[in-house]
């Protein structure tokens, strides 16, 4: 009985190897079952081919079997071809440009009251946010983020959210220059415009974006050093930054992207410890200070305040739960009038828990007790905006993850605003958000 040609067997084996090497996407049991079925089919096919081969060989004389050196040369050629194919595939996939990622969301809001703080009711377009992370060399990288969103007046705004150039000094330190998310607390740098990655629909109001009622500078333009140190207690994350001081214009913070307008720089820090003994937990402290000038509609200086905030935060995450809490204590001093030094405080805590499968429930409590005499907050209250008012907000919501990249959320809010006008507003929001 003639033996099957060794080279033919090798080729069949290689073909079967690549067939079996296909990426398995199903569970282990399903994969085993699929493999078994493939194996059975392949055995049946082999049997047929062998019978056919035997029949053909009986019809005509077989060629003389290749000598060992000839077989060796053919195998070597085959190996070189496979290596070349793998190499060219790798080279082709290495030059694919810079990946583009981002977020977008749409929604609906039913509001009990319409003002600058809550926005207008109805269907709304959220933010179309995209970002790139080009790697220019082994140590030099960049981050560019562009956001498109409609404001409350219906105008489309384009915002170069971030434009950072960074240098990786080592694993413990990366230096960035440009426009970046101010590194206080946890939420501002972790989620920012990433609607799909944050559990709730809205951010806590006290850390809202500058043009949406935020009392803190969510963006900075300057220098930022960030890194992580391994300590005996755990990983210590740190941030320190220096940037253009903000100005107040029309009651809204302006981060002065084109240079500071009153020769002042602001600075801040963030220290967060991830204790080894408590996986998933981060506890930290943060602070910032800057001299903020305020200008009226005719660009005339009408206030100057030294903003000083100090506080702490905590973040906990497990497979099913997420808890975020941030606290800010303000000790601002009037540098224009005679209001002197004024203290205020603000904070929030949000908890979320995965109820069943893709359903997650969340709840948040926010409170801002802002001193009415503090010109920093007083200048944020204008005829059209009440961003510097004390408030208490309760939020309750549900999130459904349709898949890992998209989420449907519904959220109910009750906001009680004190100070100038004691007003309670209820709101119901729905949002569909995706990431890509």
């Amino acid at each position: 009985m003639k033996h099957p040609h060794p080279l033919r067997l090798s080729l069949v084996a290689l073909a079967l190897a690549s067939a079996f090497g296909a990426h398995a996407q199903t569970t282990d049991t399903e994969r085993l079952k699929a493999l078994q079925q493939q194996l059975d089919k392949s055995l049946a096919m082999m049997e047929q081919l062998t019978r056919r081969l035997a029949a053909l060989e009986q019809q005509r004389p077989s060629p003389a079997p290749a000598s060992a050196p000839e077989v060796g040369a053919r195998v070597e050629t085959l190996e070189r071809t496979v290596a070349d194919l793998a190499g060219s595939s790798a080279h082709a996939s290495a030059d694919t440009g810079v990946p583009l990622h981002g977020f977008l969301d749409v929604g609906y809001a039913h509001l009990g009251r319409n003002d600058a703080n809550t926005g207008k009711p109805g269907f709304r377009l959220g933010t179309f946010d995209m970002y790139l992370t080009p790697q220019f060399s082994d140590r030099v990288k960049g981050l560019v983020e562009l956001a498109f969103e409609y404001n409350s007046e219906g105008s489309l705004g384009t915002d170069l959210e971030r434009l950072q150039l960074g240098y990786v000094v080592n694993d413990d330190l990366t230096l960035w220059a440009g426009r970046f998310h101010t590194p206080y607390g946890y939420w501002n740098t972790a989620f920012h415009h990433g609607a799909q990655i944050q559990t709730s629909i809205t951010r806590p109001r006290l850390i809202a974006f500058e043009d949406q009622g935020g009392i803190l500078p969510a963006h900075s333009v300057g220098l930022w050093g960030t890194g992580k140190l391994d300590t005996r207690l755990g990983a210590l994350h740190y941030d320190a930054y220096l940037g253009n001081a903000d100005s107040l214009r029309g009651g809204t913070l302006d981060y002065n992207a084109s240079g500071y307008d009153h020769a002042a720089l602001g600075s801040g820090f963030n220290l967060g410890l991830q204790p080894t003994a408590l996986p998933g937990l981060t506890v930290g402290a943060h602070g910032l200070q800057q001299l903020v000038n305020s200008y009226d509609s005719s660009n005339t200086l009408n206030g100057k305040v030294k903003l000083q905030a100090l506080g702490g935060y905590a973040f906990y995450e497990s497979d099913r739960a997420e808890v975020i809490g941030e606290f800010y204590s303000f000790n601002n001093s009037d540098r224009y009038g005679e209001a002197g030094r004024n203290r205020s405080s603000a904070g929030f805590v949000q908890g979320a828990y995965q109820l069943i499968n893709q359903w997650t429930g969340f709840a948040r409590y926010e409170r801002a007790s802002l001193n009415e005499a503090d010109p920093y907050f007083k200048l944020m209250n204008t005829a059209s905006t009440q961003f510097g008012s004390s408030y208490v907000q309760h939020t309750l919501g549900l999130r459904y993850d349709l898949d890992p990249r998209s989420a449907l959320k519904v959220q109910a809010e009750r906001i009680r605003q004190s100070d100038l006008a004691a007003v309670t507003t209820n709101a119901l929001r729905v949002q569909y958000s995706v990431r890509f």
């Binding site: 069949v12 398995a24 062998t50 793998a86 790798a90 992370t133 140590r139």
Partner: protein
Amino acid sequence: MNSIRLIALLLSGVGLLGPAVAGDVYVIAHPSVSLSADDVRSVFVGDKQLAGSVKLSPMDNSSAQADFLAKVLKVDANKYAAIWTKKGFRDGMTAPPLRNGDAEVLQLVKSTPGAIGYVSKTGPDVTVIQKY
């Protein structure tokens, strides 16, 4: 030897080259990389970018990723994707590229300084950091 038996024997051997349903995972690196097994997790979650002066280039392997995530990182695919989404969004990092199987990973790790990957069956000219 009966040809059917020979083919069945080859198939049983070939089966070992297929996807590692619950098989071994070898974390391999270019010879220029000096890493300990303790560093592997840090590399693949973006916490470690350098080994001395060498810039690390981690890569994922589509045919062995399920086993690697379960045995080494102890997360599922969705959690892994979420980790890199946050790393990219906050720190400007790019997720490891996904390569098509052991052959491509071996070829790239062998030829790229700083490369680190994982395969179900190791090969020549690469350093095995750890077998799981």
